[in-house]
């Protein structure tokens, strides 16, 4: 059952991911990416990380992709305005990433991990559990994240603000 679910989600994820890359229309790409994200969210649920799954949906599907779509629409890129990329370049890209895949897959051969004590903690992905780790061990990174968000906020606002003296430059 779960394995079948896994296969389905994996298939969906990879298919949609490929469609993201090969769709002519950017908006379609965005939509396929959203589907991919949902497939990944499904994987999270399979992996007992419900909280993460929901957060994933909220953050990626709910915020990030909406922003993408927003920008796409704002810039009105619904026609495929992408110029033709030379075949050689595409070929090179395909070769490069293919090589990367092969390397990654090859490196996975003979996977033997340290066998952790397999006491299954079912509530690993609960808010409580995650919160505990986040606010004890990972407190500093958590706080640092605020600096990060602050920086990105200032950056985005600065770039977004229209220039007052447009004629000077």
């Amino acid at each position: 059952m779960t394995l079948n679910l896994f296969y389905f989600l994996a298939f969906l994820g990879i298919l949609c991911a490929l469609l993201v890359v090969f769709s002519k229309n950017p908006v379609h790409s965005v939509l396929y990416l959203i589907l991919t994200f949902f497939a990944i969210a499904g994987h999270y649920v399979l992996l007992n990380a419900q909280f993460l799954a929901v957060v994933h949906v909220i953050v990626y599907a709910g915020a990030i992709m909406v922003l993408f779509l927003h920008v796409l629409m704002l810039l009105n890129l619904n026609q495929d305005a992408e110029p033709h990329k030379s075949g050689a370049l595409k070929f090179a890209a395909a070769i490069c990433s293919g090589a990367l895949l092969i390397i990654l897959i090859a490196s996975l051969k003979g996977t033997n991990l340290i066998t952790a004590e397999q006491t299954v903690v079912a509530d690993l992905g609960t808010v409580k559990n995650l919160g505990k780790v986040l606010f004890t061990d990972y407190l500093l990174p958590f706080e640092i994240t605020s600096v990060l968000l602050m920086a990105s906020m200032i950056g985005a606002v600065m770039l977004g603000k229209p220039e007052k003296n447009q004629s000077t430059e």
């Binding site: 640092i144 990060l148 600065m158």
Partner: protein
């Protein structure tokens, strides 16, 4: 850690300045704050404190790099003083620069992959925005954009590497990863893939060949002062992080990454220096030279083991000081000549002071004694030779000769070519700062012991 608090606080102050309208006093406040941060870092010297369940460790290496970052930033602010009077989004940009510093300090002191990641991102995100801060300038836009795309792409690799390493060891802490590596008789194959991916990701960040191709564009496109920030503070932070990463975390699997890194080193040295020769714009030349210097630091990194921190520190300090001078002057000239090409022509006649300062800076970068750059190179070479990497050193020597070629191109044009345009006035403030930096270069060259804490 205390200095990190101070720096983050400065970021907030910068934002408050916008609200409370004390922008004029911002730079002095920053300088004082940064000095305080440096002071706090100095007070922690030798304590090697661990913070927040080992998320950050401020040992001497971290402290020294933090101090370097702070000091460079302080000089940067002094140089940028004028800039901050003319630009519009003063407080935003100032805050972003402060955050760059914060990211740098985090990168210098991380002990957990999460900290590294966040540090890199704080630094990078701020820089993406800063690179594009000249919003109506297409070059600036393009620089920001390229930097952003490449930076995120690199982050992807870095993260994949971290994930794979986590998969193999079950840890994010550097020391625990190292322990886990030591404890496991046989590591899974993807662990090595992870290490390589991390290296690739970091190589992007330090712009080592062949992951450097974004650097010249970005350096050229970004506003000159921001470029100087990238070339100094960012480079320092990136190397500090790189050093920690490879020598605190992966020393046991040296055989995996050392050779690739050395190949990268040679490629960086040769390609960057050779390409720099063919650049017509000084800014672009400096960009390539910056990549080239990354090669020398990489040489120190790969040959020195854990003891290479001192060498890296010294080299970075020397390089930062020289780069600050060069970019400050470049910036001044851009303002004076309105971004005309060949603004360095006949600078000696237009402003002898700037010409001499620039010469000192370039000589230092070229590694001419008795300036700091020479001693930096010297330390690198000594270290490499003592570890038996004579071949690498010979390559480095040849490339540094090539370096002389392009640095002297600028010097020749300053002293030899006919100037266009009238004299260039230099404010006494800038003069003072530049003189100070020149003195630093001289002092580092003549009394390097003072600057070799590690």
């Amino acid at each position: 850690m205390n200095s990190l608090y101070v720096i983050c606080g400065l970021g907030l102050i910068s934002l408050i300045a916008e609200l409370a309208n004390f922008k004029k006093q911002l730079i002095p406040i920053f300088i004082v704050g940064i000095l305080a941060a440096i002071g706090l870092a100095v007070m922690d010297w030798g304590t090697s404190l661990h913070y927040f369940s080992d998320m950050a460790i401020f040992d001497n290496v971290a402290l020294s790099f933090s101090i370097l970052i702070c000091a460079t930033a302080a000089f940067w602010f002094l140089i940028a003083n004028d800039y901050f009077h003319t630009e519009t989004h003063i407080t935003d940009q100032a805050a972003l620069v402060i955050f760059v510093m914060a990211g740098g300090v985090i990168m210098a002191s991380f002990n957990n992959m999460a900290m590294l990641f966040l540090g890199i991102e704080i630094l990078s995100l701020s820089l993406y925005a800063l690179a594009g801060s000249r919003k109506l300038n297409l070059f600036s836009n393009e620089a920001a954009f390229k930097y952003f795309l490449m930076g995120s792409f690199a982050t992807g690799f870095l993260l994949m590497g971290i994930a794979l390493v986590y998969g193999a060891t079950g840890q994010f802490h550097l020391d625990k990863i190292a322990a886990s590596i030591a404890a496991q008789p046989e590591l899974p194959g993807f662990f090595y893939a992870g290490v390589i991916l991390i290296i690739v990701g970091m190589a992007f960040k330090i712009s080592a060949v062949p992951f450097h191709f974004w650097a010249p564009d970005v350096y050229e496109g970004a506003p000159t002062l921001i470029t100087s920030l990238m070339a100094t503070v960012v480079k320092t932070a990136a190397f500090a992080a790189f050093f920690r990463m490879v020598w605190y975390c992966f020393p046991a699997v040296e055989q995996t990454w050392l050779l690739p890194l050395q190949v990268i080193t040679v490629a960086t040295l040769v390609l960057a220096n050779v390409t720099a020769v063919f650049q017509s714009k000084v800014k672009r030349m400096l960009a390539y030279s910056s990549v080239g210097h990354a090669g020398y630091i990489l040489l120190a990194l790969t040959t020195g083991g854990t003891s290479s921190a001192g060498t890296i520190f010294f080299y970075l300090a020397a390089y930062s000081a020289a780069t600050l001078i060069a970019f400050a002057i470049l910036n001044r000239l851009e303002l004076a000549t309105n971004f005309a090409e060949g603004s360095f022509n006949g600078l000696f006649k237009k402003s002898p002071f700037l010409a001499v300062a620039m010469t000192v800076s370039l000589l230092s970068m070229a590694g001419i004694p008795p300036l700091a750059g020479f001693f930096g190179k010297y330390l690198v070479f000594v270290q490499a030779i003592s570890q038996g990497y004579v071949g690498l050193v010979v390559v480095a020597v040849i490339t540094s000769l090539i370096g002389v070629y392009y640095y002297f191109g600028v010097i020749i044009s300053m002293f030899f070519k006919e100037p266009a345009g009238g004299e260039i006035q230099v404010s006494s403030g800038l003069k003072l700062i530049l003189s100070l930096l020149v003195l630093v270069l001289l002092a580092m060259g003549i009394l390097p012991d003072l600057f070799l804490p590690l």
